[in-house]
């Protein structure tokens, strides 16, 4: 079981609003899972080499050639609010 403060701290970092019910719910659930994963601490891994998941022949680079997107207006269409080609936020910033 995680403390209420701990859950609120995580929720703050993750920017998630929680109802009172949810706080209790997550205290329990997170607590249970964290207890379960404690088992990893018993394992000796000091000499373990770094995990590598990306294939060795993967190429991460591209040429410096600008490729304008087909229609940037499509990217704005999904915005909750926009104005004059900008993403619009309501009066929430100081």
């Amino acid at each position: 079981m995680l403390s209420r403060d701990e859950v609120l701290k995580i929720a703050r970092l993750a920017k998630l609003s929680l109802t009172e019910k949810e706080i209790e719910f997550y205290q329990q659930r997170l607590g249970r899972i964290l207890t379960y994963v404690e088992e990893l601490n018993a394992l000796a891994t000091a000499d373990t080499s770094v995990v590598r998941t990306i294939p060795k022949d993967a190429v991460a680079f591209r040429e410096d050639r600008p490729m304008p997107f087909s229609d940037v207006r499509e990217l704005l269409k999904n915005a909750p609010a926009s104005e004059a080609d900008s993403f619009l936020l309501p009066q929430v910033m100081e």
């Binding site: 994963v37 294939p55 190429v59």
Partner: protein, 495 residues
């Protein structure tokens, strides 16, 4: 004509002989969906006019049929994979009205091969779940028994194929989300090697684990879809540049010669706690592999018991990062009356995400946070390396590894949702392949006394899908047809 029972190979042969056309097939399937999917709820979006236009466009290229390996084949796409103009919601309220501005590389390749997009299918929200009960829309039902789950997170994709609505679908697999629903729905499901298929256009869950792959009714069909969708494409820095083999080329009589004398690894200790009927079915399947000339070898996988813990730290950490972009600013759901910027973020995300997603985001945030990183994310990555090493050692002694795909058959809707760990244990056999990056395929092995499907999983070396397909193909031929699958029932859906 009833197209719901046809496999991809049947369709291609039918088109070749001009028995029917892509538009006919597409129309028939769309009608089937319209009539019967309200019960199954496999699809989240269909656009019949767009699908038929695409079918008509492909027909215009009928003279090039030979060059289009998926000519006229309708494919359903999981709704966490982007297709231009179609929704991409990840079954989440937070992406409710999102329309994809570009198409995923793997789907683009399928379209180039002549495939026709049939619709977007249901999933556990953001691919987090093993039953599709976490969908922000509604749960999908298993066509074999509609009181039961189809598995997850690619439950919609599995149900669509099992119900006969589509000959093939795309799913994504991060911890088993293609293989487990394939197993629960009597299908073939493939998780390719990490880096075989481009992730460009997949709504990311866990970047180092996600792979897209096919769900089909036969091994040949899965091989055909994978050989078309895989490959580099230039938009993903984690994809292998190696040439994608034509997997279907070896799926014939010659395969029997190839698989004879291959060694199949079995880790007996791993099977403890598995449902007895599942175990019995698995053991019978291994017997069949022996009949094919394969040699079972006992292997050790000493660290797989830590796979669940490892997965739940690695995957949730990466997910917490990948889902940070859903903040109500540039796309997706925004809370209606935020009082300040912080409220805009917290309420949009708090209201937009479902409980399982929030749980995982919080777990991942915690595991990456200052002071906890080393003990959680850091440690988990080290254990991950141990698991990888287990498989490296095992593949010195064998060529494929066999296990049940899921410890149980399809459970009842609502049965496991209350305890996270019980649900998570559904993935016990599938998680390790994602952690190790190796390919895995689930093939139907039989049904239990309740007539619910049981799957066998085969895992192979990195980029050795060829061997997996050949073993699976031979096993499938040996096993024979499945009795009364829902796609062959008169109505085409539901047992």
């Amino acid at each position: 004509m009833d197209f719901n029972r046809l496999e991809i190979l049947d369709l291609l042969e039918g088109y070749q002989r001009k028995e029917f056309s892509p538009t006919e097939v597409a129309q028939s399937l769309l009608t089937s969906i319209e009539k019967k999917d309200s019960e199954i709820r496999s699809f989240l979006q269909v656009r019949p006019d767009v699908t038929l236009d695409a079918a008509r466009a492909v027909e215009k290229r009928s003279s090039e049929m030979q060059k289009l390996p998926l000519y006229g084949v309708p494919i359903a796409i999981k709704d966490n994979i982007l297709v231009t103009g179609w929704q991409a919601t990840a079954a989440s309220k937070i992406l409710k009205n999102y329309v994809a501005p570009f198409t995923a590389m793997c789907v683009e390749r399928l379209e180039s091969a002549g495939a026709v997009i049939l619709g977007k299918t249901n999933l556990d929200e953001f691919a987090m779940g093993s039953s599709t009960e976490n969908s922000g829309v509604a749960p999908t039902r298993n066509p074999w028994n509609t009181d039961r789950v189809p598995g997850g997170s690619s439950g919609g994709s599995a149900a669509a194929v099992a119900a006969g609505f589509a000959p093939a679908s795309l799913g994504t697999d991060t911890g088993g989300s293609i293989r487990q629903p394939a197993s629960l729905c009597g299908l073939v499901g493939v998780k390719p090697t990490y880096g075989r298929v481009s992730r460009f256009g997949l709504i990311a869950f866990a970047s180092s684990l996600d792979q897209a792959g096919p769900l089909t009714r036969s091994v040949w069909d899965a091989a055909r879809v994978l050989e078309c969708m895989a490959g580099y494409g230039g938009k993903d820095a984690t994809v292998s540049r190696s040439v994608v083999p034509k997997y279907t080329e070896n799926l014939n009589e010659s395969a029997f010669g190839t698989v004879r004398n291959l060694r199949v690894g079995v880790c007996t200790s791993w099977l403890e706690g598995v449902d007895p009927e599942v175990r019995a079915s698995f053991e019978a399947a291994v017997e069949k592999l022996k009949e094919l000339g394969m040699r079972p070898v006992e292997i050790e996988l000493p660290n797989v018991k830590y796979a669940l813990s490892t997965y739940y730290l690695v995957a949730t950490s990466e997910a917490s990062s990948n889902l940070a972009r859903f903040d109500g600013v540039h796309y997706g759901y925004r809370t209606p009356n935020p009082k300040d910027l912080n409220d805009l973020y917290c309420s949009s995300r708090g209201e937009g995400f479902g409980p399982e997603v929030k749980l995982r985001i919080m777990l991942g945030t915690y595991a990456l946070s200052a002071g906890y990183y080393d003990a959680y994310y850091g440690k988990a990555n080290q254990v991950r390396r141990l698991i990888q090493q287990d498989f490296e050692a095992a593949f010195e002694k064998c060529d494929v590894i066999a296990s049940p795909t899921s410890p149980t058959t399809a459970f009842k809707i609502g049965e496991k949702i209350s305890d996270p760990l019980t649900m998570y244990l559904s993935d016990i056999f599938t998680l390790p392949a994602n952690l190790a990056g190796i390919p895995g395929i689930s093939v139907p092995a039989g049904v239990d006394s309740g007539k619910l499907p049981i799957g066998m999983q085969l895992m192979g070396r990195h980029f050795d899908e060829s061997t997996l397909f050949q073993v699976a193909y031979c096993y499938e031929r040996r096993r024979g047809a499945l009795a009364n699958p829902p796609w062959r029932s008169k109505s085409g859906a539901g047992a």
